[in-house]
């Protein structure tokens, strides 16, 4: 017998659009910018993108783009898309995804061609752009994965910066002492876990405001590593600083795959940390969305009481996740001193931990999204350093702002609303 058949009123989600003109206006302004800058002020000549390096097995011809003509194409396309977005907003109340995506891709391409066309050399090596970006992207990915682990379980991790820094310092110190890079790597993970342990104890057990604990930890680690750097690492024995000479992790190119143009040098000529990163992105994504472990973590981050009532230990789950997050960030920190550069220097993470947090939000608390956001930030950051060398029409100061401007755009919701885990930052007190 059915008890539902009698009456089932449909509460249909009757959604109507609140028209927001923000995006069409932004598109319009950018399209006008394209007309003025790319076309009217556009460089003559060609922009050359070099896809392979001299030593590569497969040589791919360079991509040569006539800057002026391409500028006109981009400007016309941008105007058309801006008009389309206005029309869509007016008629349907929303802008379809392909308009936004096409606009973004088109505009970025136009910007690149304009910038490269305007440099003295008028060419750029894409391989260099991406391999250089990995120097920034790798720690960002580890940092944001640490954030994914913590925040999916409901603990805000502002201490990523401190965890990276602790990892970088410890890796350098231990690798220098033991002459074993893997010992350094392991020690870095432990150092990250130590920072996480403090975060977990204060925010979970003693219910201190998580943001405040995170900020305090960042200051603590910065001060602590700075002090130890001065007192220990700068100590010279027989005129050499033996405590800041870490044995490095070697690059391990993968045969065949490493020969693929652009992708090969970017992804398949990395150190063990780089490969570990690729594996970790997939593993954490699969774990979160396909396993019992992930279901429980997400439940704890969304509705801890519901998890508690089905017998899940909320605070233990959070504790373990925060610790795991610390290990991940610690490994990311080791990348600085075991792969990227040859020694530790004071505050060498330079705020990447905070950009990792932005990548996490940009990537909507999804490991793959966060990794792509980290890649975007990495490319933007590296583009700036390449261009400042190549001599550009834009002032270097403005290019230096690029990653941060992108961060602000990302966090302020220009890429659609991000939805944080519902209990993110909320301590769980039983009863």
């Amino acid at each position: 017998m059915s008890v539902t058949a009698k009456l089932s009123p449909s509460i249909a989600a009757d959604r109507v659009a609140i028209r927001s003109w923000r995006t069409p206006i932004m598109f319009g302004v950018l399209a006008v910018f394209a007309v003025v800058v790319f076309v009217l002020l556009g460089p003559d000549g060609h922009a050359t993108f070099r896809l392979s390096q001299d030593g590569d097995a497969w040589q791919v011809p360079n991509l040569v783009v006539p800057a002026k003509i391409f500028g006109i194409v981009v400007a016309v396309g941008a105007l058309a898309l801006a008009a389309r977005s206005y029309q869509q907003m007016k008629n349907e109340g929303r802008i379809s995804k392909w308009v936004t995506m096409t606009f973004a891709v088109l505009f970025v391409m136009g910007l690149l061609v304009w910038i490269i066309g305007g440099t003295n050399t008028q060419n750029i090596t894409l391989v260099g752009l991406f391999t250089g970006a990995m120097l920034i992207t790798t720690p960002l990915v580890f940092g944001s994965l640490s954030g994914v682990l913590c925040e999916r379980s409901g603990v805000v991790n502002i201490a990523i910066e401190g965890q990276l820094l602790a990892g970088a310092f410890t890796a350098s110190l231990v690798s220098s002492i033991t002459h074993n890079a893997f010992a350094g790597l392991f020690a870095a993970a432990v150092a990250g876990m130590f920072v996480s342990f403090l975060l977990a104890v204060f925010s979970i057990k003693y219910v201190v405001n998580q943001i405040i604990v995170g900020v305090v930890l960042n200051v603590l680690i910065s001060g602590l590593t700075g002090f130890l750097f001065e007192k220990i690492m700068k100590t010279k024995v027989d005129g050499v600083t033996i405590f800041n000479q870490p044995t490095q992790l070697p690059n391990l190119p993968i045969p065949v795959l490493s020969e693929i143009p652009v992708i090969g040098p970017t992804l398949f000529r990395q150190s063990i940390i780089g490969y570990f990163m690729l594996v970790l992105i997939v593993v954490i994504w699969f774990g979160l969305f396909r396993t019992r472990w992930g279901l429980r973590i997400r439940a704890v981050g969304e509705h801890p009481k519901a998890a508690d009532t089905v017998g899940i230990n909320v605070n233990r789950t959070r504790f373990l996740n925060v610790i795991a997050g610390g290990a991940v960030a610690g490994v990311g920190g080791a990348y600085f001193t075991l792969v990227a550069v040859s020694s530790f220097s004071k505050d060498m993470t330079g705020g990447l931990g905070f950009i990792a947090l932005a990548a996490l939000i940009f990537g909507r608390w999804n490991p793959i999204g966060a990794a792509l956001a980290a890649l975007l930030f990495g490319v933007a950051g590296n583009l700036q350093s390449i261009l400042s060398l190549a001599g550009t029409p834009i002032d270097g100061q403005f290019l230096a702002m690029l990653p941060y401007a992108l961060t602000i755009l990302a966090v302020s919701g220009f890429v659609g609303k991000s939805r944080a885990p519902a209990a993110d930052g909320e301590p769980y007190i039983k009863g």
């Binding site: 009698k6 609140i18 396993t291 019992r292 279901l295 009481k305 998890a307 017998g311 519902a422």
Partner: protein, 518 residues
């Protein structure tokens, strides 16, 4: 399965929430726990479900003592619970919610949701629940969410099901459906503990009734016991359940709402083209299941919503587009639905809370500094007038009981000349004694010639207070009916039938029932 609680005592510091409670639930019976809000029913059930550890006492299942260190133990022992506030993760699907905590997995802990989906379908088919395992919980109406909670318990093979105030969020018709489900479960041998403060429901469904007052069992009753008797047992003294209220003498229609539409930030229509008016000296009671636009209606009048169109006229003045301060100054008194979050500042003293919207005005302040003496004197007067039970008006507001807190809010809002009085859930979580008092004050304000709007999800309160009754469903006005309309009619309207269709269906039903009998 037989359940027995022996001498259960649970204290939080000095407060004894449960005091030596004995209770026996026989196999396959529906056992009701009746008591006022705050009597200790939920605490007792949380002890039984392993969420709290009892200070003393023991739990026996089939005469074997058991000890629960957490909900997992209780579930393993065959106890399932449907909480008053659903324990469902809104962004999960039904299947994910059901699986959580008892997941079927293939090797390496990989989720096997197909297995859970099959179980959900099986239980759903057995009881005619009609629940789609792949629906997102946040998209489901509350009635269906409740069924998901029941499925959660049944999939875990619960032999004893605790339902904590399950009807609070349901329409009368959905309540009937729930009772039908309870009877089916009972027929299958499941014992049910039904927690409620609604006398009618308890009488309709129970095999045994246990009454709890102030943490103690004060007696048990047969379902045949009269409502008045049950009520006096529950409250501890004779209660007058009906309010003495003279007929309204409506004056001019000074408050008019026309074509009011309110949207959420996400573009959802929270209120859809609402028009009505309220006369001086009249109470319009707004009924509806929680979350159908009542909150938004009151907040829209106060000026708390952004995306608003239409018109709200008070005494010839437009309120739409004014700031909250301007609306208050126009003579609107407002009792918000959540007194602790929106009505009071808990850490502030009673005296300060009593001038929360007046502190900028003379005589309470002058030259930008507050006049403590006047504020204190005002507090003494109000505390006496509204019978607020407190040691001192300087005590923090959150030291008061729910009923007394509500008196403070009401005292503040009624302490200045009003042109409109709006009260949202004026007696939610308030003891019966205070309810009588609060209702009398509201009626007194009406008799003073103020138009009054009462929003309530309790049908009893709606029928008690309303001179006319408006019903909201999914943000739409289903119609306005006279104050003495039948529960059946209101129930159908609360489920989404416009007034005339609801009336037609009732007339039609009456006719077919006649036909079936003959």
């Amino acid at each position: 399965m037989k359940l027995e609680l022996k001498g259960i005592t649970k204290s939080f510091g000095a407060l004894v929430a449960n005091d030596h409670i004995d209770l026996v639930v026989e196999s396959g019976e529906i056992h009701s726990l009746l008591g006022e809000n705050g009597a200790g029913k939920s605490t007792l059930m949380n002890v039984l479900y392993g969420l709290y550890e009892p200070t003393f006492g023991e739990i026996l299942i089939d005469d074997q003592p058991v000890k629960f260190s957490g909900p997992a133990d209780a579930m393993a022992a065959g106890i399932g619970m449907v909480h008053q506030h659903f324990m469902l993760v809104p962004v999960f699907t039904v299947a994910e919610n059901v699986a959580l905590g008892g997941e079927s997995t293939t090797f390496g802990g990989i989720l096997n949701l197909n297995d859970t989906r099959a179980k959900v379908r099986e239980v759903s088919a057995r009881f005619g629940f009609n629940v789609d395992p792949d629906a997102l919980v946040e998209d489901l109406p509350v009635g269906v969410q409740q069924r998901v909670e029941i499925i959660k318990a049944l999939v875990r093979e619960a032999k004893i099901l605790i339902l904590d105030e399950p009807t609070a969020v349901l329409t009368p018709q959905e309540t009937d459906e729930l009772m039908e489900i309870m009877r089916q479960l009972k027929a299958n041998g499941t014992s049910i503990v039904f927690i409620s403060h609604k006398l009618r429901e308890v009488k309709a469904i129970s095999d045994t009734i246990t009454v709890i007052r102030r943490g103690k069992v004060v007696g048990s009753a047969e379902p045949g016991t009269s409502t008045t008797e049950l009520a006096s047992l529950m409250v501890g003294r004779a209660v007058n359940l009906t309010l003495d209220k003279a007929a309204a003498t409506p004056g001019d229609l000074t408050f008019k709402v026309s074509n009011l539409t309110v949207m959420s930030d996400a573009g959802q229509r929270l209120l859809d083209d609402i028009s009505f008016s309220v006369a001086d000296g009249e109470i319009l009671a707004v009924a509806g299941v929680q979350g159908n636009g009542q909150t938004e209606l009151t907040e829209a009048v106060l000026g708390l919503h952004k995306h608003i169109s239409g018109s709200i006229m008070l005494d010839g003045n437009e309120l739409v587009g004014r700031s909250v301060r301007q609306v208050l100054d126009a003579g609107v008194g407002f009792v918000p639905e959540d007194r602790q979050d929106d009505g009071l500042v808990g850490e502030f003293s009673i005296a300060e809370n009593l001038v929360l919207d007046l502190y900028t005005k003379e005589p309470y302040s002058r030259w930008g500094s507050m006049n403590r003496a006047v504020i204190g004197k005002n507090a003494e007067e109000k505390v006496a007038e509204f019978d607020v039970r407190t040691q001192s008006a300087q005590d923090a507001a959150d030291t008061l009981s729910g009923g007394n807190q509500q008196k403070v809010v009401l005292a503040r809002e009624l302490s200045r000349p009003l042109k409109l009085f709006i009260a949202s859930q004026p007696t939610r979580g308030v003891d019966v004694g205070s309810i009588e008092f609060l209702h009398k004050r509201i009626v007194a304000e009406r008799d003073a010639g103020t138009p009054v709007i009462i929003v309530s999800t309790e049908l009893d309160e709606i029928l008690e207070l309303g001179d006319r009754i408006a019903v909201l469903f999914a943000g739409k006005l289903m119609g306005i009916v006279p104050g003495k309309s039948s529960r059946e009619l209101l129930g159908l309207m609360m489920a989404g039938l416009p007034a005339n269709e609801a009336q037609a269906q009732l007339d039609g039903n009456a006719a077919t029932m006649e036909g079936e009998r003959s």
